[in-house]
Amino acid sequence: MKPQRVFWLITILSLLAGLIDLPAKTRIKFAKFDQEISRPKLDLRIGKFRFYRDLEIKQGIDLAGGVHLVFQADMSKIAPADKDSAAQAAKNNIERRVNLFGITEPVVQTSKLGEEYRLIVELAGISDINQAIDLIGQTAQLDFRELPAGATAAASFADFKKTDLDGRDLSRSRVRFDKNTGKPVVSLEFSSEGAKKFSEITGRNVGKPVAIFLDEWPLTTPLVKEQITTGEAVISGEFSLEEAKRLSVQLNAGALPVPIKIIEQRNIGATLGVESIQKSIQAGLIGLLMVILFMIGYYGYLGFLADVGLIVYGLFSFALYKLIPVTLTLPGIAGFILSIGMAVDSNILIFERMREEIRAGKPKQLAMELGFGRAWDSIRDANVCTLITCFVLFNPLNWTFLNTSGMIRGFALTLGLGVLLSLFTGIVVTRTILRVLTRKEKE
């Protein structure tokens, strides 16, 4: 591509990134002109695929304030083969309860370490840790309910009465596929005790609904077709695969109840976060200004171009954080700052090479191209080494012998993104601007 075209492409991309970077509402006040502009949200639909971003920076709880909880799951009563489903069910259970709180974007993760299962919960923006722990820490209560004799078709969920059959009698639930129709169904397998109770209940309720409640909340009300004595039942219906999976996981929360114990809790007041983010941003800006002045002071015109590259770099990084989206934490900010240093480094390497070539008596334009070419080897090797470290720290394959902690991952992610972007701005952006400008000079 011609440098001219690349130049315009970069300009357009930078403007787009700049638009994404705007806060949701900006007030522009200029003499008599006073208007609030709001940045649009991103909502792309291509067929079934939907890409939606609200384009707000996600803040980790160390910045936004909130609660970080780690629970240890007691799997001693669960058969080894069922442990993964039990962990999944416990996670789902926590998510469901957390959602009742109305917390935006809770993070619930399971992590397996050897034979231990842990659940990590992060709730931004709440401070009442006690209530959260109480609510999350309870094990799920599943029970089967029937309508009392004489109930009419107009009966509501409140009319269902508890039976003696509950989650302890259910051994597991799975998603199966109906042999005839091929549609997904949800199977229930009862213990021998449960099979007896279930047989009695279904015997009493042929042609009537039986409701399954989880934590006093109705999950499903299948109609009993016939008495079931084998201890194995199937709930069929017009499920999509997703719906069947969800129901099965919810049933498992009752069937494979996992008591959880809190082993770590952190409550970070929002004031601490706000204070440290404001100060850090302020300090970051001052630092950036010093870098910009230093570059101009030392490399003059070239330094100014590098600064333009650096600003483009800043716009792109911020836009990427919003698009991916990256949850920003304090270590994440550190990763970003380090990557600024590395972005500047690419430029310094190139300029030093160019100066050498000019000193050796080469014409300016040739010196420029040679400088970029010669510096590339060291830029590549140095950055690959950093990327290797980022890869190990980010641990994308979830190796259990490595870290999965959000903090270290956040750092690795912003540093890795920064290195990749800085390669782009250091090599493509600065070079294109230089090429376009030297061409103009010649004309």
């Binding site: 970070i268 870098v291 480094d345 270290i408 750092f411």
Partner: protein, 291 residues
Amino acid sequence: MNWMRFKWIYFLLSASILVPGIYSLARWGLRPSIDFSGGTLLEYKLSQETQKNKIEEVVKKIPQIELYSLQQTAQKTYLFRFAPLNKDKAEEIKNQIEKELNLSVEEIRFETVGPTLGKELLRKTIIAIFLAAGAIVAYVSWRFKDKKFGVCAILAMFHDTFVLLGSFSLLGHFFGVEVDTLFVTAVLTVLSFSIHDTVVVYDRIRESQKLFPNTPFPQIVNKAITETIVRSLNNSLTIIFMLTTLLFLGGATIRWFIAALLIGTISGTYSSTFTAAPLLVVWDKIVKRKQ
């Protein structure tokens, strides 16, 4: 300029930093924060300035808690360290302070960590460092077609790691500075910076070796250092600018994290020129003597 003439001085300078640090590491170790040792951290903002020992008196009267330390972190703000506590106990402490000292308490932070988690984090981090180091040795040896580059780059990296660990061991012993998970991130950052900087110097050596195959190795290294030292300093200066402003103006929560990065950056800059390059010369000399 004949930089390599003074190589033993550079090693001596490194040793003068490394030896006390390693001695301190062996003797006193690092001061672990609750991230590693387990425990409870509680930070309160009181409605008025209060004497530390008065608060201590109140807290010590509450049964079944073990107060490790109490320190004032800002105006009216106090940081408590306990053996692991649950939230009910923390609530009790807050109520007692409010009642007995007749003021109101705002909870800024409450953190409790079980003791097993910290060890796990430490173990995983060490595995990560060795894994990354191994991969980098392999990559550098491959790109430079000689294992001495890979090995010496990693030696320089461990030089910086021990400078950092040693400094924090000393800071911990004399000033009570603790190492936490942020410190682990800092160590990792320093590792990547150190390698990054070393590779740039090595790249020059590689290039000159190709251009002047008959020049003696120490001379090539001298030339490479002369050519890269300005760039190395300039680059580090930009990072040092950023870090220094963050150190003085950034939030208190990240102060020691930034300090760790700063120590690491300075050490990393020094080591790529004055440790990694001379090590290559020494290695080269030993190999040639054997032949």
